[in-house]
Symmetry: C2
């Protein structure tokens, strides 16, 4: 049976987590894997209504994501989490939970989407940085709330000067190196996929 694991994305708002995660979902489904994307907003809606954005509430939300990712991972599914998850301590707690106290070390893969703050703020796809700078959003990661980068992520993606598709290739390559996926053939994409990538690149302001 296929081994499940969690790809735990972390990075600033606008770093490209969702874009890369969505493309990755498609690529992994193409090779026949069960994949579930645990999007921060969807989890908040379905599991964490009532929680806000204080540190305690953010931590509670991340713990719930970790719990669901654990259930999926230990049942052969690839869970991809794409919440900002700015705090190192709680990410380490998620690793502990999902690897079952380190007994299944391969079940947690931390993927650092390392787009620098300046670049995220310059892109500002959703206009959130502008609002945060104007003081209209409280506890905004990178502006009025800390972001603690991972110290030893299994995978680091820079995104700057790369297309999301290249970032996905890099992630898939690393997963193959780690023995979590079979070695990949060079990427050949369908017209639909190419169209999708172009659309996303446009949305991100690359094209």
């Amino acid at each position: 049976m296929d081994e499940g694991f969690t790809l735990w994305f972390t990075g600033l708002s606008g770093a490209g987590k969702s874009t890369i995660a969505n493309l990755l979902v498609e690529r992994l489904r193409e090779i026949g894997r069960h994949v579930e994307l645990l999007d921060g907003d969807e989890i908040r809606k379905n599991l964490s209504s009532g929680l806000g954005f204080s540190k305690a509430d953010r931590d509670a939300n991340i713990r719930r994501i970790a719990f669901v990712a654990k259930l999926l991972s230990r049942n052969g599914v690839i869970a991809i989490t794409a919440a900002i998850s700015p705090y190192k301590e709680i990410r380490d707690e998620a690793r502990e939970e999902i690897t079952n106290g380190g007994r299944n070390p391969n079940r947690f893969v931390e993927v650092y989407i390392a787009t620098p703050l300046e670049v995220c703020e310059q892109r500002d796809v959703k206009g959130l940085y502008k609002k945060a700078r104007a003081g209209e959003i409280e506890h905004f990661t990178g502006i009025s709330d800390p972001y603690e980068p991972p110290e030893h992520p299994e995978i680091t993606v820079s995104t700057v000067g790369e297309t999301p598709e290249q970032d996905v290739d890099q992630i898939l390559g690393r997963l193959a190196e780690m023995g979590l996926l079979p070695a990949q053939p060079a990427g050949v994409y369908s017209e639909d996929e190419e169209a999708l990538v172009s659309e996303r690149l446009k949305n991100l302001g690359y094209l």
Copy 2:
């Protein structure tokens, strides 16, 4: 790939939901399936801390169980939920959610553990009915809070005069009839399983 689905147990406190569900998990794992038991208490601890036992809070808890069961079921896993889930309306909502608005009707199997109240109260394994009768527990299903039995459950298990192992055989048989599992060979159990069954029967006061 194996098709996932949810076995949505419903029944009074002490009806035998957890006992039957735990045995079922073992039997399904033996035939190579990924199975996850979503126990009411574990879900409350991990996803619903802060929620109480009012109707609104119970509903919120059940919605969260349904969300997690949906994620598992659509990824090839058999999710078994074993919360009391006393309200018909919210069970129907769970069915709607998990079957994707009826588009995957086989993904939700309602399993009514139909042990009568008198029998549950007589067994009173955890002493909860005594406390509820004494007014020490509020909103106790069947005593001070309603239990709405399902009208058209896919599977009904009476439990009275049957061993949990027989109940499990009955459920597996029905799932095979429904095409959700391959047809089962007659049950042959290992010593460990027999010991486990005996222990559970003792705990339930059958032996």
